[in-house]
Amino acid sequence: MVWYRRELPLTITFVLGILISSDYFLVFAPLQKTAVTFNDFATIVATFALGLGAASLTLMHSKKIIDRSGEWYHSVLLVASLLSVVAVGLIFGVPSDAFQFQFKNIYSPLEATVFSLLAFYLLTTAYRALRIRTVETTVFLVSALAVVMMNAPVTEFLWGGFTNIGSWVLNVPNTAGQRGILIGAAIGAVALAIRTILGRETGYLGGK
C-alpha cells in the first residue's frame, strides 16, 4: 500500500493527538494558539465536507430522477427543497424572514412530528422488553413498574410509599449501574485515544 494511505494519516494523527492533548494539560500561550488554529482547520474541513455531502446527496438523487428508479418522485421533492433553501438563503440572506419562514413553518413542524413518534415507539418497545422471560427481564419489569408508579399522580393518592420505592430504584441501583458504565466507558475512551495516537488502533484506516 502506498505510504500516503497509511503512514501519512498515522503521522498526522500522532502529531495532532499529542498537540491537542498537551493543550488540555498545559498553560502555554504558543501551544494554545497552535491548538486553536488546528481546531479552526477542523471546522473549515468540516464545512467543506458539508459541501461535499450536499453535492453527493444532489448527485445521488439526480441520478435516481434521471433513471426513474425506485421512488424517484421523493428525490424530486428532496432536490427541489434543497435548491429552494439554498436559493432563498443566497438571495435574501440567512436572517431574512423568507429563510426563517422555511425553518419555522416547514422544518420545525416536520422535526416535531418525527420526534413525537418516540412516544409510540417507546410503548411498543416497552411492551416487547417487559415481557417476562428470564430473571433479568423480571427485574427489568419490577424496576420499570416502580418508576411508573412513582411518576403516576394517582399512585401518590393511593399510597405514598410508591414515591420512595421509585426514588430508591432511580437513585441507588440505577445510578450505581450508570456510573459503573460511565467509568468503564471513560477509561475505554482514554485507552482508545492512546491506541489511536500510537497508531495501534487502525479500524478507521480499514484495519491492519
Binding site: 498553560v27 468540516a46 446527496l57 478507521y204
Partner: protein, 264 residues
C-alpha cells in the same frame, strides 16, 4: 513558561497510557498472556451478515447524530465513539464483500463521509471484492438530527435490511431507528457509550455493546493478540478505580473527604 493544569486528570491519563504501552510490550514479548471474554454483540456480526446473505437483503449501518455540526470529529467524546464504530464498520464491510452482500450506510456528519468511504473501500479490498464499491453506499442525509432520522428511517423501510447496525454516539434517534429496524425484521446490533440511550438500545435491539465494549470492539474484531494487552491495561485501571472508590467511601464515612483534600 508552561504550567501544568488538571493534574489529577493528567495523572490518570498518564497511568492509563503507561499501562497500555507496557501491556502491549509485555504481550508482544510473550511475558504476558491475555484473553478477552466473549462479547455476544461482536460474535453476532458474522451471524447477522450470514443472515443477510441467505435472505439476499442488504445490511444497514449508521453511527447516529451526536457530536453536532462541525463537532462530530473535531471534539467531544462523540468523536471517540465514531472512531470506535469504524472498527466495527471495517469488519462489517469486509464480511459484506466476502459474502457479496449490499451495504448501506446513512450518515449525519458530512465530515465522516471520507472516513466511511475509506473504511469501506479497504474493507471490500480485504474481503476480496473491491469492485463492490460504489458512491451509493454512503448516503449523507442531513446535518440536522430529525431530518437525518426521518431519512434513515425511510431508507431502512425501503431497503428492508436483514441486519441493522446502530453503533456509535446515538441520541434520541436510537429508538426510532431500532423500531423501524424491528418492523422490517432486521437482526439488530447496537452499541453506544451514552448511558441515556443504552436502555432504549438494550430494549429494542437483539445485541448491544455497552460502554467500554464499544471502545474494545476494534481490538476484539482485529483478533490481534498484541492489542489485547491494552484491554488488560483498561481492566487494571478499573480495578484501581474501584479500590479508590471503596477506600474513599470508607474514609468519607469516617469523616475524611478525600476528594476535597485532592482539590475536587
Amino acid at each position: 513558561m508552561a504550567m501544568i493544569k488538571e493534574v489529577g486528570v493528567l495523572a490518570i491519563a498518564a497511568f492509563i497510557a503507561i499501562a497500555v504501552i507496557v501491556s502491549i510490550y509485555l504481550v508482544k514479548r510473550g511475558t504476558l498472556k491475555m484473553e478477552i471474554r466473549r462479547i455476544a454483540a461482536l460474535d453476532a456480526i458474522d451471524m447477522a451478515i450470514g443472515r443477510a446473505t441467505e435472505m439476499g437483503r442488504p445490511v444497514h449501518f449508521t453511527h447516529g447524530t451526536a457530536g453536532g455540526l462541525y463537532a462530530g470529529l473535531a471534539q467531544g467524546e462523540a468523536g471517540a465513539q465514531i472512531v470506535a464504530a469504524m472498527g466495527v464498520l471495517s469488519y462489517v464491510s469486509e464480511l459484506c464483500a466476502k459474502f457479496n452482500v449490499q451495504l448501506i450506510c446513512t450518515i449525519c456528519h458530512a465530515e465522516t463521509m471520507p472516513l466511511y468511504t475509506d473504511t469501506i473501500q479497504l474493507g471490500f479490498l480485504k474481503g476480496g471484492r473491491p469492485q463492490l464499491w460504489n458512491s451509493d453506499i454512503v448516503r449523507f442525509i442531513s446535518p440536522y438530527q430529525f431530518a437525518f432520522t426521518a431519512g434513515a428511517m425511510a431508507t431502512i423501510s425501503r431497503e428492508k435490511p436483514a441486519a441493522n447496525f446502530l453503533v456509535g454516539p446515538l441520541y434520541a434517534e436510537s429508538l426510532l431507528l431500532a423500531e423501524v429496524g424491528y418492523n422490517v425484521g432486521a437482526i439488530q446490533i447496537s452499541g453506544s457509550a451514552y448511558t441515556h440511550q443504552l436502555p432504549f438500545l438494550v430494549a429494542a435491539c437483539d445485541y448491544t455493546l455497552i460502554g467500554e465494549e464499544l471502545y474494545a470492539a476494534g481490538v476484539y474484531l482485529s483478533k490481534n493478540p498484541v492489542l489485547l494487552g491494552s484491554i488488560g491495561a483498561q481492566d487494571l485501571t478499573k480495578i484501581l478505580v474501584m479500590i479508590f472508590i471503596g477506600a474513599a467511601s470508607v474514609l468519607l464515612t469516617m469523616g475524611v473527604n478525600v476528594i476535597k483534600i485532592m482539590g475536587g
